[in-house]
Symmetry: C2
Subunit: 305 residues, 2 copies
């Protein structure tokens, strides 16, 4: 399959590299690592061994990337002002676009520009950070869950899931994309924000009883907000939270969430996708996520006005 | 009057200096500034002109300070483990003890040790910071409101108020000490915590609409918590908040609250007096101060376990 990867941060580079190794024709839109990657290739460190890809097809402009079958979008949501223009050159044929960006609102943006039938969404369940130019550190997990923006099962989601699985990326196709997006927010909303705000990793936060209670309370608010959207089935309240906390401690306790890194490196934060739009959707259904709103207000403080 | 000042931070030094200039026999328990102040005196900068006191009676140990009529406590509440032992040497005669420390629980500590009839409480309405050793910067306000721990009007509170007023410190004696303590918390709870957490001054926070709404919401929670305590009359909800925000912008917008300075200088925070005890008292009356609790949890993160 011919695949364009848009947004070559740790997540985009990692999944693209796996797909290329599996034999696909993968083309990367690169920015700050263009020189390093096109001259020296891409190195991926993983818990199960490192690998290096010598020859990467890197581009600086999506208009030069040719025709593809799939556009895989892993762009930071704060750069969404440029997303539609980046994707447009691929939308002449019948290519599909799969966004695995964080938060809510990304599929809507693409669907408004190119039609809902082109658009799929997914959540990336992965701990990965960039290292020096041309290096990605894969730390934990590495799965994708995806579905049609329009909802329901489809042959296309099954094919894409099979492709990812064959490339060593665990992937489920689901009928309810909104549910998996809200499930991921249950983790992202507390940990992305609190780690960015405090500069501490999840394990450090979870070790404090008052913070652990706060994290659980934030998760409960997100679950209530999600369940008010009329998901295909509700996200369970209690077991889900305890399991997520335990899994975080076990697997990604020392992981620095992307928003924490963005703040440490002086980049903008993905506040609209991860906080603002979920807050608006919850409020529309009469759910006031008080603590989420407070966390959002605190995070805005460090942002440009 | 013979007055012992316990806790010689900016607030204790400023009020003590005013009382000494007014002719009182003021004795200071000093720690880190002992050498600077006993050799070179105390300098106070104020918006209406600076002054210098050459000769300060400084002591390192309250057992050497002799008999006094009034003990004025301005100690940081996080040092309260030592408060009773510091005050005990003065409690042989019929001295009164007036604590103008931040938050709740200070009078209770003194009353349990020395009897409620000895104890008065007050709130210091003042913007003051320490400068280099031996220098205090008085920035704004400079008033005290005080009352009997046991409640009600008393000749003693009237005398003390007259003494402070004669020394150029605006002072009211009130019948309901708890009410003025909660009223002060309406300011301290949002601004002390948010300024310490973000490293920004009140004016910077108030300039952000989301933060301004959060500050107002925190204030509303504190008012609800205070009013549930059965104050002599309720703290009004709306006008009070708007007026407090406007007054803060006008007068103390660029002021660094004491908790912000404590955090910047690596000292512990007055979390028990300003957050924990108010949260407990509100919860006891069935009032859940959700945002206050969240702010408290966030502030504990930087504290020693």
């Amino acid at each position: 399959m011919r695949i364009a990867v848009i947004g070559a941060g740790a997540v985009g580079l990692y999944f693209g590299a796996r797909l290329q190794i599996a034999g696909h024709d993968v083309r990367f839109l690169l920015r700050r690592d263009y020189d390093a990657i096109t001259t020296a290739g891409l190195t991926v460190t993983t818990p199960s061994g490192d690998f290096h890809i010598e020859k990467i097809q890197g581009f600086r402009d999506s208009r030069e990337m040719g025709e593809v079958d799939l556009v895989l979008v892993a762009l930071k949501a704060f750069a969404n002002a440029h997303l539609v223009e980046m994707v447009r050159p691929f939308m002449r044929g019948d290519a599909a676009v799969l966004t695995i960006q964080n938060g809510l609102g990304n599929e809507e943006l693409l669907a408004a520009a190119f039609g809902a039938e082109r658009v799929l969404g997914g959540v990336a369940l992965i701990g990965a950070n960039r290292g020096e130019p041309g290096v990605v550190h894969h730390l934990a997990y590495g799965a994708i869950r995806l579905g049609e923006f329009g909802g329901g099962p489809s042959p296309r989601t099954e094919q894409l899931a099979a492709m990812f699985n064959a490339a060593g990326i665990r992937c489920d196709a689901v009928a309810d994309l909104r549910k998996i997006r809200w499930e991921k927010l249950v983790w992202n909303i507390p940990f992305n924000g609190l780690c960015a705000l405090t500069g501490h990793t999840p394990a450090i936060l979870l070790a404090r009883p008052a913070m652990r209670r706060l994290i659980a309370a934030l998760m409960a608010e997100v679950i209530a907000g999600g369940n008010a959207q009329g998901l295909s089935e509700p996200i369970p309240q209690n077991g889900f939270i305890e399991e997520m906390l335990a899994r975080t401690e076990r697997n990604t306790g020392s992981y620095r969430p992307s928003m924490m890194i963005d703040r440490l490196e002086g980049r903008p934060l993905e506040l609209e996708a991860i906080y603002q739009i979920p807050l608006q959707l919850a409020a529309k259904q009469g759910i006031e996520m008080v603590r989420v709103e407070m966390l959002h207000a605190l995070l805005t403080q460090g942002e440009p006005t």
